[in-house]
């Protein structure tokens, strides 16, 4: 088993952290995992992305050319990764920040209004966790409970009060995605 996931968006959308949460959960369920960021002067705004690879055995390349699963949090990221998706793959789109649909018919699209759902929960910074919840519908090796256990284990004490809302965000994202998946035609 090996799965590669790309997460992309603007700096500040919590993309790197979202990737790390997946990585922690993968590690804690006994998998091999790599998390690699695009690094550079991204603190000056601009787009950020990271790739997470989860596998049963020693991982070779931490990067892939054609990811089977990707989460895009904004339009530039959709434009960049849609053409790169592996046929049959799943693209999770943050529809709050993207005003077009996925053009390819050979991939599954999941549209999730992550910002709106996060605001409903009461904290717009949770958009990344909503998106992670949606992403999990396409990553069968990880369950929402794995992510929740990870957050519980790794959230520093002073942030612990945020845990229930994080869990709510993940669950809502997951449930919404299950109901709003546009399957590939091919």
């Amino acid at each position: 088993m090996q799965i590669e996931i790309v997460l992309a968006g603007f700096g500040g959308q919590g993309i790197m952290f979202a990737g790390q949460v997946l990585s922690y959960a993968a590690m804690e369920t006994g998998k091999e995992v790599t998390w690699i960021p695009s690094y550079g002067p991204e603190m000056r705004g601009g787009t950020a992305n990271c790739t997470v690879v989860i596998a049963d055995e020693e991982i070779g390349s931490p990067l892939v050319k054609n990811p089977p699963v990707a989460l895009v949090m904004n339009l530039p990221s959709l434009d960049k990764y849609e053409p790169l998706m592996r046929p049959g793959g799943t693209l999770v789109v943050n529809s709050s920040m993207v005003d077009r649909s996925v053009r390819r018919e050979d991939i599954t699209a999941i549209y999730i209004p992550a910002n709106e759902i996060a605001e409903e929960i009461g904290d717009k910074r949770l958009a990344n966790m909503v998106a992670v919840g949606a992403l999990l519908t396409a990553v069968s090796v990880l369950k929402t409970e794995d992510i929740e256990a990870t957050l519980n284990a790794h959230m520093p004490g002073r942030h612990k009060h945020l845990l229930p809302k994080n869990i709510e965000a993940i669950r809502k994202g997951y449930a919404y995605a299950q109901a709003h998946t546009v399957a590939a035609k091919a």
């Binding site: 790390q20 590690m27 960021p37 070779g60 390349s61 931490p62 990067l63 050319k65």
Partner: protein, 372 residues
């Protein structure tokens, strides 16, 4: 100890601390800043020495001083900073004192960029500074290996009174993987080596220097270095092999290029190609012998690097024309993807290279055609 999800640079820093690091001197440079930053927090916390030097030139000479006292000392930098350190490295080699250097390579030459590269293989493995000396160079391909290498690097440096360099690229420095850190060594370690300059309390005074004005004396010094190097070559060869039992073709790559090749090798296997991977871990000393042995059952080698074929020269030295070689490199901070290497493997099988080919020249012309 349990596995933790660790960032390469931070894991390296913490592993060195746990191995009993007494002093760290460095200067900021991307993509290894996290090492310096980690040290700036942890070393003072533990009552150990940390200085952000005014430059790499200062840093390496601080290392030189501390190394002469017998302390466990290291510095870290990235390509342009390592260039600045060459003077100190040569003096340290000439004075025969131990130190550990971590080089997180980036794209060059010149200021280049901060993306992952293996462009400094020659600089590190073949010297860089002036004079006849050989650093020990270890190249990890993942974070666990890098972590395990830190205590080893200190042990080797001290055992052979030699520079030991852990050579990686920005991608390993920046990425996160699960890894297990070593136990914290009891600290302080007693250090009182019979050569250390630490004050002549109750003993004859000692002098450490790299000047031997009398050429015959310098020649003897050089021979002493070389004798130890011979021991190192005998004892300290390290590499890892994958799917070589029945392999007809062998890919050779170190560090990140090696691990990317692993994905390609698996993909090629899935297509029925009998190919394996040989990943050198000690780059200096280089596993010439093992590659020589592999020639007997190998139809062709594919050497892949994130440079223009610097390690390729060492492979050619081992192969000596017995088996044809194909080369594939990416330059200037561009990381190859597994698909590219898979394609190279398939091409090698379909159009076998000839033993008399110049693999670097053939590759260069392919690159000039395709990368525009």
């Amino acid at each position: 100890m349990a596995r933790e999800l660790l960032k390469g640079n931070e894991a390296i820093a913490e592993a060195a601390i746990r191995a009993g690091l007494d002093a760290y001197y460095g200067y900021p440079i991307t993509p290894q800043n996290e090492i310096l930053e980690w040290m700036s927090k942890r070393m003072p916390e533990l009552g150990r020495a940390f200085v952000q030097a005014e430059a790499e030139l200062g840093a390496i000479n601080m290392v030189y001083g501390a190394a002469c006292t017998g302390a466990r000392v290291m510095t870290s930098s990235s390509s342009p900073g390592i260039s600045l350190m060459q003077e100190g490295l040569s003096y340290i080699a000439g004075t025969e004192v131990p130190m550990v250097l971590v080089n997180v390579m980036r794209g060059g030459p010149g200021l280049g960029n901060i993306a992952p590269s293996q462009g400094d293989y020659n600089q590190i493995c073949k010297g860089g500074g002036h004079g006849d000396y050989h650093p020990i160079v270890l190249a990890p391909a993942n974070i666990q290996e890098a972590v395990d290498m830190m205590p080893l690097a200190f042990d080797l440096a001290e055992k052979y009174l030699n520079i030991c360099c852990v050579l990686l690229d920005g991608s390993i420095g920046q990425m996160m993987e699960p890894a297990e850190l070593p136990e914290m060594q009891p600290y302080p370690r007693p250090f009182n080596q019979p050569w250390a300059v630490n004050g002549a309390i109750g003993r004859e005074r000692r002098i450490l220097t790299s000047i031997y004005l009398d050429p015959p004396e310098e020649e003897i010094t050089n021979l002493r270095l070389l004798k130890r190097w011979e021991q190192i070559q005998k004892n300290e060869i390290r590499y890892k092999e994958y799917y070589l039992e029945d392999a007809e073709y062998v890919v050779i790559g170190f560090g990140t290029a090696g691990r990317i090749a692993l994905s390609a090798v698996r993909a090629a296997r899935a297509k029925g190609i009998k190919v394996g991977l040989f990943r050198p871990i000690s780059l200096s000393p280089y596993p010439y012998k093992r590659i020589e042995e592999l020639c007997a059952k190998t139809q062709a080698f594919l050497v892949t690097e994130m440079n223009a074929g610097q390690m390729l020269e060492d492979v050619r030295l081992a192969v000596r024309g017995r088996v044809p070689i194909r080369f594939y490199g990416r330059l200037g901070g561009v990381m190859p993807l597994p698909d590219e290497i898979l394609d190279e493997i398939e091409q090698m099988v379909k159009h076998p290279p000839k033993a008399e080919d110049d693999p670097a020249a053939i590759w260069l012309h392919r690159m000039l055609e395709t990368v525009k």
